[in-house]
């Protein structure tokens, strides 16, 4: 159970960063931290004690394998995370060129 609580703590660390940081890049990093805490949880869900990696070896008879489905899910989610992070970075750099700063307090066009 401890590992799940640690995942949750990591999630909260990301959320704290998302709320308190004022720098665009740091906000993106906080989002990534939250993402990876969830990936960690997904992998842990599929873990089975003493399980082998889920590749069928014709030479070996029946074994206990870990659940491969969460791993496939995490791989796909990592790809999606890559796309989201790349988009965030592109927008952040564009914003930097407009405002000459990464500080979110300087960007007030849409306040209210």
């Amino acid at each position: 159970m401890t590992v799940y609580i640690l995942c949750f703590v990591l999630f909260l660390v990301g959320l704290y960063g998302l709320i308190t940081r004022r720098n665009l890049i740091k906000i993106a990093i906080s989002l990534s931290i939250m993402e990876f805490s969830i990936f960690l949880m997904l992998v842990l869900i599929g873990y089975i004690d003493n399980g082998l990696m889920p590749i069928v070896d014709p030479g070996l008879s029946a074994q206990v394998y870990v659940d491969p489905l969460p791993q496939a899910m995490v791989l796909t989610a990592i790809v999606i995370g890559l796309a989201t992070t790349a988009m965030l970075m592109a927008i952040a750099i564009r914003l930097y060129r407009k405002y000459k700063t990464f500080d979110i307090r300087e960007m007030k066009n849409l306040r209210g």
Partner: protein, 512 residues
């Protein structure tokens, strides 16, 4: 007919990649291919719709069907509700794309715009068709990531800022959804929506699933911009290019927000009183607060965006009422009315909100402003825009004989029949407030005295734009036919049946 289902995702993907490769080499290639794609998709959707009737089709990707009653591969499920959504998505997509042919000429990188548009359509079609939780998540991300890019398409300060805000909140929502999917997989060891229901029927622990449902409401509520989660919507929808605003407000928030929420709560989870109460009250709150926030807006597109929040509130409230009535069990007729009214209002809102954003785009195209105070007297200069927007405004504020009147009337009748008198009163009051702020829009944009700008220089918009607006305005009138019982039976009833008999989905999908 079965073999056509994956084409809804494959065709827009192929044309998106073709546009990226050939769009720069062959001049005008994207202007030709993208509308053709949408037209083919619309014809396919209508063909499926006419052939489907009350049955539902399950398509196992890659030939991986079930193994001892447990599904192995990814399923695509086409039933009455999803085929209706497919028709709406591709219809509004086609109109918005046709409109963009003239509108988009003022931006650079046209071919990227059309490629992203095809990607958004592919993602939404996938979300609507998917019968698998994780597959649904992937398609959802495909459509929202392309919408992040499209919101920032103007690359001005406001566009970029709105897109960043949208991405951070959208990323948060995606994570909540992924967490909920992971938790569901943890307990049930399956991702297929129908199979999850099958497992849940054998017994479940209520507190755990309440937590999962709350996560899902937060996640999809953020995507659908229900009130406490609405902060990104006015910025994102008002900064995007107008055809994209029409897509986002008209279709995207419904396809990736409301549709999924409703599909999961009706066909996957067992109904629970608490969740129904939460949905109903969230819907009512966003209905009221959205309209109150819309009144004080002077930016035309922000006004329309806030009114989207309020109209989506109607839909969510009616679905919540439907669940409450089904749980109560003694008033099935009112439940049918509530669910039918919600689906009807969802279709209507896609049409008239799409039309209103296209009108706003037309005004912005000619005047280069979105501020209502700088407009005035446009009814002579832009007769088509003026007439169509008048029809759309009357429709959204519920004036007969337009479609909005009938769907709101059905929802109000359902609320009265189910003895939700407070909700019925609120629905009527919000409808009056809606009329107030749309009259404000009409007066300041079209009928006021002009404020300085030379009116004689302003001409009507080009053919592609005015044709799309006229088409949608005619549709506003035509859709009120759906209130007739005979038409309703053939179009709305399959969708209502899917939601009313919530066990039907998993028995037909799993082939039990």
């Amino acid at each position: 007919m079965d073999a056509l289902i994956p084409l809804f995702v494959a065709i827009p993907l192929i044309s998106a990649f073709l546009i990226v490769i050939l769009g720069k080499l062959v001049k005008g290639f994207h202007r030709f291919l993208a509308p053709l794609t949408l037209l083919v998709l619309l014809i396919l959707a209508v063909y499926e719709f006419t052939g489907l009737g009350k049955i539902s089709i399950t398509y196992a990707m890659g030939g991986w069907t079930s193994e001892g009653g447990v599904p192995v591969g990814i399923y695509l499920v086409l039933d009455g509700f999803s085929v209706l959504m497919l028709c709406i998505i591709n219809l509004i997509g086609l109109i918005a794309l046709f409109y963009s042919l003239s509108y988009i000429t003022k931006y650079t990188a046209e071919s990227n715009y059309f490629a992203l548009f095809c990607l958004i359509i592919a993602g939404m079609n996938g979300v609507v068709l998917s019968g698998d939780l994780f597959n649904l998540f992937v398609f959802l991300e495909v459509s929202v990531i392309s919408s992040y890019a499209l919101v920032a398409f103007g690359v001005g300060k406001t566009e970029l800022e709105a897109s960043f805000k949208y991405q951070v909140l959208g990323g948060l929502a995606s994570m909540l959804i992924l967490l909920a999917i992971g938790l569901i997989y943890w307990k049930t060891k399956t991702l297929n929506i129908a199979d999850v229901r099958n497992v849940l029927d054998a017994g479940y622990s209520k507190p755990f699933y309440l937590f999962v449902q709350v996560l899902l409401i937060a996640g999809f509520g953020l995507k659908a911009a229900i009130i406490p989660f609405h902060a990104w919507l006015p910025d994102a929808h008002s900064s995007a290019p107008s055809p994209i605003s029409a897509m986002l407000s008209g279709v995207l928030i419904k396809a990736v927000g409301i549709y999924v929420l409703i599909r999961l709560f009706f066909n996957m989870f067992v109904f629970s009183y608490e969740i129904a109460l939460v949905l109903t009250s969230l819907g009512a709150i966003s209905m009221v607060v959205g309209s109150l926030l819309a009144i004080k807006q002077w930016d035309l597109k922000r006004l329309l965006a806030y009114s989207s929040i309020s109209q989506v509130g109607y839909v969510v409230m009616a679905f919540g009422m439907g669940i409450l009535l089904l749980l109560r069990g003694n008033n099935e007729a009112a439940a049918v009315l509530a669910i039918g009214g919600a689906i009807y209002h969802m279709i209507n809102h896609a049409v008239f909100k799409g039309l209103l954003f296209l009108n706003a785009g037309a005004i912005e195209h000619r005047l280069n402003t979105r501020n209502l105070k700088e407009m005035g007297g446009l009814s002579k200069a832009m007769p088509v825009t003026s007439t169509t927007s008048f029809m759309a405004s009357m429709s959204i504020s519920g004036i007969p004989p337009f479609n909005g009147f009938f769907s709101k009337l059905i929802i109000v009748i359902a609320a009265i029949n189910g003895r939700f008198y407070l909700l019925a009163t609120l629905a009527v009051v919000v409808s009056i407030i809606t009329l107030a702020y749309f009259l404000k829009f009409q007066r300041f944009a079209f009928f006021n005295k002009s404020t300085g700008k030379a009116l004689d220089k302003i001409k009507e918009v080009p053919f592609a734009m005015s044709f799309s607006m006229i088409f949608l305005a005619v549709l506003c009138l035509a859709l009120s036919l759906l209130a007739l019982p005979s038409v309703r039976d053939s179009i709305l009833s399959p969708a209502i049946d899917v939601l009313m008999q919530s066990d039907l989905y998993f028995t037909s999908t799993l082939g039990l």
